[in-house]
């Protein structure tokens, strides 16, 4: 048993062909998930018990079950239901890419809404009182005071969620998608060289994670540009 370097040189470009799909899954579900999370978070803090209750049930279900099960329910499970197959959304659920996006969005939305709620609850009351004293309306206070401060507070945890979302995209390979992991699994099935293929792919993921963290660090510095640095 030896480490087959030529094989890596041959397999790596093939695996990198899947990086586009990995990024598509990541970016699309991150954007849709953030939109969903904002909606759910607003429901949660709306003060209306039925909206808050609905949001809590959603969060509880999607945080309490494995993402793989969620992906399987959407991809394999939904076609069992007639109203899905006859509904106008069928083109999305027929397609593994659409299913992966739906499952990843729903999953990340549940986590991110709690992160955002933490940020909103972390906003200093004094700031809001100051806004009230200045005569800002409730929605003005939310837009001009709560939103910028809460997004700064939530960003570190949100960054971690983006990293886990990247790792979750690898599960799209279980529903026939040829993302980087999907391609790697096909190559391993052909060559039976798990060490070479999987380790080099792991390094690719680590590099992507590294750059994502750099990028998030930049955003964090940008959002925190008004805060006074300690020391």
């Amino acid at each position: 048993m030896s480490f087959d370097l030529p094989l890596i040189a041959e397999a790596l470009p093939k695996m990198l062909m899947g990086i586009g799909l990995t990024f598509q899954l990541l970016v699309l579900s991150a954007i849709l998930g953030l939109a969903l999370a904002i909606g759910v978070m607003l429901m949660r803090i709306s003060g209306k018990w039925y909206l808050s209750w609905l949001a809590q049930v959603y969060i509880y279900v999607f945080r309490g079950t494995p993402i793989l099960v969620q992906i399987f329910i959407v991809y394999y499970g939904f076609p069992q239901l007639d109203f899905i197959r006859e509904g106008f959304l069928w083109p999305i659920f027929r397609d593994p890419f659409g299913c992966a996006i739906v499952a990843l969005t729903l999953n990340t939305g549940a986590y991110v809404s709690e992160i955002l709620r933490g940020g909103v609850l972390g906003v200093d009351r004094g700031v809001l009182e100051a806004g009230e004293a200045l005569g800002l309306s409730k929605s003005q206070r939310f837009i001009y005071l709560t939103t910028p401060i809460a997004s700064r507070l939530a960003l570190p945890a949100y960054g971690n969620d983006i990293i886990s979302l990247l790792k979750s995209t690898a599960l799209a390979s279980t529903i026939t998608l040829a993302d980087m992991t999907g391609i790697a699994r096909t190559i391993v099935a052909q060559t039976y060289a798990p060490y070479e293929i999987f380790i080099s792919l792991a390094i690719v993921y680590m590099i992507v994670t590294f750059f994502l963290q750099k990028l998030l660090g930049r955003v964090e510095r940008y959002l925190g540009r008004y805060t006074i640095r300690e020391g």
């Binding site: 793989l68 399987f72 394999y76 499970g77 990293i163 690898a170 798990p194 993921y205």
Partner: protein
């Protein structure tokens, strides 16, 4: 519901496997996390480097990749070793149970490393000094002061690690462990009802998550029992 008749006991045994994997990986995860935290807090540069490498690798790689690598990697290594003694052997693997358990324990252990490290750093120096002033040995300080104070700080994050473990058990079905997701796949093969079966799996996991969440809440209350007056 009648499609489920005949499958209840299979799902039950699948759940037992989930519980077994969870408990085994929980023990390993705590061990990996404590070793990692000890290494990061030690004075040895070498140990710190190794521990840093461990957390970077396992937090930056998709879970499914770690599981596949450990299972298929160990299988070809074992087969190669076995063939030295007996060339007749075609394939030998580490049971998916253990390959998967070790894989998820390594992954979540890398997160636990950071949790434990932070919690040990959060122990108040005053408590340690007080214990030393009372003439306690280093070991006594560790057992009676550091650990009781540290686990209270670690508990909220540790609860999340336990939830990650239980959800990661679903991924082990990919390498053929006969847990609930695997049972569902077989049940779908005969009944043709994927939605029903995967929903059952989801509910089983939701049950496990609920039990863990409630346990952690109870433990937190127990950990803070003598601090109640303060809150």
């Amino acid at each position: 519901m009648e499609v489920l008749s005949g499958w209840w006991d299979d799902f039950f045994w699948g759940s037992v496997v989930v519980a077994q994997v969870f408990l085994a990986s929980l023990v390993l995860m705590v061990i990996f996390g404590l070793i990692g935290a000890a290494a990061k807090l030690s004075d040895s540069r070498f140990a710190q480097k190794i521990a840093n490498g461990y957390t970077i690798v396992f937090r930056g790689t998709p879970e499914i990749l770690v599981i596949l690598l450990l299972y298929f990697g160990s299988a070809i290594t074992l087969t190669a070793i076995a063939q030295l003694f007996n060339p007749e052997i075609k394939f030998l693997d580490v049971p998916p149970f253990w390959a998967g358990t070790i894989a998820i324990a390594l992954i979540v252990g890398s997160y636990a490393t950071e949790t434990f490290r932070g919690a040990f750093l959060g122990v108040k120096p005053g408590s340690i000094e007080a214990a030393q002033a009372l003439g306690m040995s280093t070991l006594q300080v560790f057992v009676y002061v550091r650990v009781p104070e540290m686990w209270r700080l670690a508990l909220p994050a540790f609860g999340n690690h336990m939830l990650s473990l239980i959800k990661d058990t679903a991924l082990i079905s990919i390498i053929g462990l006969n847990e609930t997701l695997f049972v569902a796949k077989q049940a779908i093969g005969t009944t043709g009802k994927p939605f029903t079966m995967y929903i059952v799996v989801g509910l089983i996991y939701l049950g496990f998550s609920t039990v863990i969440t409630l346990t952690v809440m109870g433990l937190e209350r127990y950990g803070h029992r003598h601090m109640r007056a303060a809150t």
